[in-house]
């Protein structure tokens, strides 16, 4: 299964914010959309980083003045991006190993979505459930043919 399939049932659109926007705007956006992370874009519209709720919690714990900071001050820069045809299982393993929960997905250089480890786990579960159903179908066909149970 590819990342394209995960995005297909997640709805379109990615919550983005300008990297130079104030953190307060990012907090308002996270609260309004009830989500855990925003993709920060540079002036050219390219992915500059990810600002997650954890980044904000860490800044709060460190007593940093949130009202005077920009998204770029708190975000994790240099994020890894996935591609539409990256394989789900390999990406999930990389995210688990690398301890990151949000992955922007690009098509060429265009940002087309954001997936979380939860999205990927859910998709994997659905894929495995589908394979199980198919195995059951095959088993039923074998049993029908062999006459067992008639």
């Amino acid at each position: 299964m590819k990342l394209a399939e995960v995005l297909a049932t997640k709805g379109t659109g990615v919550a983005c914010i300008a990297a130079d926007a104030p953190v307060s705007a990012a907090i308002a956006e996270l609260a309004a959309r009830n989500i855990g992370a925003l993709v920060a874009l540079d002036a050219a519209g390219a992915v500059a980083g990810i600002l997650s709720e954890r980044d904000i919690v860490r800044a709060l714990a460190a007593g940093r003045p949130l009202d005077r900071l920009a998204v770029a001050d708190l975000m994790t820069p240099g994020v890894i991006c996935g591609r539409l045809d990256d394989d789900l299982e390999a990406v999930l393993a990389a995210m688990t190993d690398g301890h990151f929960r949000h992955l922007p997905v690009v098509d060429g250089s265009t940002l087309v979505g954001l997936v979380t480890t939860a999205d990927l786990a859910q998709a994997l579960l659905r894929s495995l459930a589908g394979r199980l159903v198919t195995l059951e179908l095959r088993l039923e066909a074998e049993i029908d043919e062999s006459g067992v149970g008639r």
């Binding site: 390999a90 995210m95 589908g130 394979r131």
Partner: protein
Amino acid sequence: MTAAAPLRVAVIGSGPAAMYTVEHLLAASANLSIDVFERLFAPYGLVRYGVAPDHQKIKGVTRAFEPLLHDPRVRLFAAVDVGRDLALDDLARRCHAVVAAAGARADRRMGVPGEDLPGSLPATAFVAWYNGHPDFTGLAIDLQRESAVVVGVGNVAIDVARILVLTPDELRRTDMPAYAIEALEASRIREVHILGRRGPAQAAFTAPELKELTTLAGAALRIDPAEAALDPASAAEVERSPDRTLARKVQLIQEIAAAPVPCRPRTIHLRFCVSPLELLPGPDGAVAAVRAVRNRLVASPAGGIAAEPTGEEETILAGLVFRSVGYRGLPIPGLPFDERLGVIPNRAGRVIDPASGAPLPGRYVAGWLKRGPTGVIGTNKPDAAETVRCLLEDADAGCLPAPADPDPASVEALLRARGVQWLDCSDWQRIDELERAAGAREGRPRVKFTSLAAVLEALGRAAPAP
């Protein structure tokens, strides 16, 4: 909606995603009325027209679907095209909810020069042709060529390669239409090359389908041991994967590569890390060869493994080229469509407005139109369950728009008024009986009808006015 009024649901399509949608709906609620709209005269979509005709056990999944169509709460409207005979709004006027489960009818393109030369065609068209799909019976396919290339390494690619090399005896045990059996019996194809862009660990085919290629009466399978070997990144991926069938598949590929190749009149070459660059024409203007490049595999930043061209090229003779790089959904007029992903924009099966992200009340999607053309037949069961869950939640919450004309009889009235000759479940039952009886006379599973006109004649009905 009053307590007595049934929930009216229209399902567009009758393949696995549609049938699992019906199954989940019927299981969840007694008080509903479902209309299934099928474009062709026969139901079951890709089970009838996509699953290979020599895989009758898999086609047997229709046994689980058959009782659903006979349920008194379900009506089949076959030979009715939503988009041509009925508009989406016609359904919305008559039903609380519409579920688009029409699958992915188009194919993805390779994007290389020469793709449209005569002799280069989508594998999906060939699959539909040998399965007797009424839209593809006239497909121009020249089987007098000696070499074919299949681009892609999914199960469809494996099916295409296998069908090309079946012996007359193997062909005559299938439910392939006579025109396809005759053309394939007379085929002069000797070499079939299956090209995979990436390596054995990334191939999408499943092990039983590959294993089957080693048991064919008239063809041998050849895999180059060097191409069967894993690069370090792929080896790590296989090692790390909790899916043991992946390791088993890679092991099978390597075992086949290491074993002596049996002597057979035809050969299937399964290739890895090779991509087509260009299709080259011969003197007659039809495709004659594929210029291809060898790839190396590189780990992509997010953990995937991508193919990168090495620059090392080769030319593979090919009088036929089948691109098997995926199906692609087509839009349904009246519903939004995401061109990039080839799906109807949705969240867990609720169709959404792509601009605002807000759900469109009463509109749902299931199957390949929902998630893209991937997965096996069974994948559609949990997929449809998710869509039905959303639909029933919305029904319980009172979020479904009330149809202006919920009387089930109004559907038939509309079709009659438009001069549409549809087939119902009892018609399909009769068609099924006739096909099976014709098959029994020839020692085959069935002999399919391949045109609506022939079906109508067999049913003793006049064909619709042109």
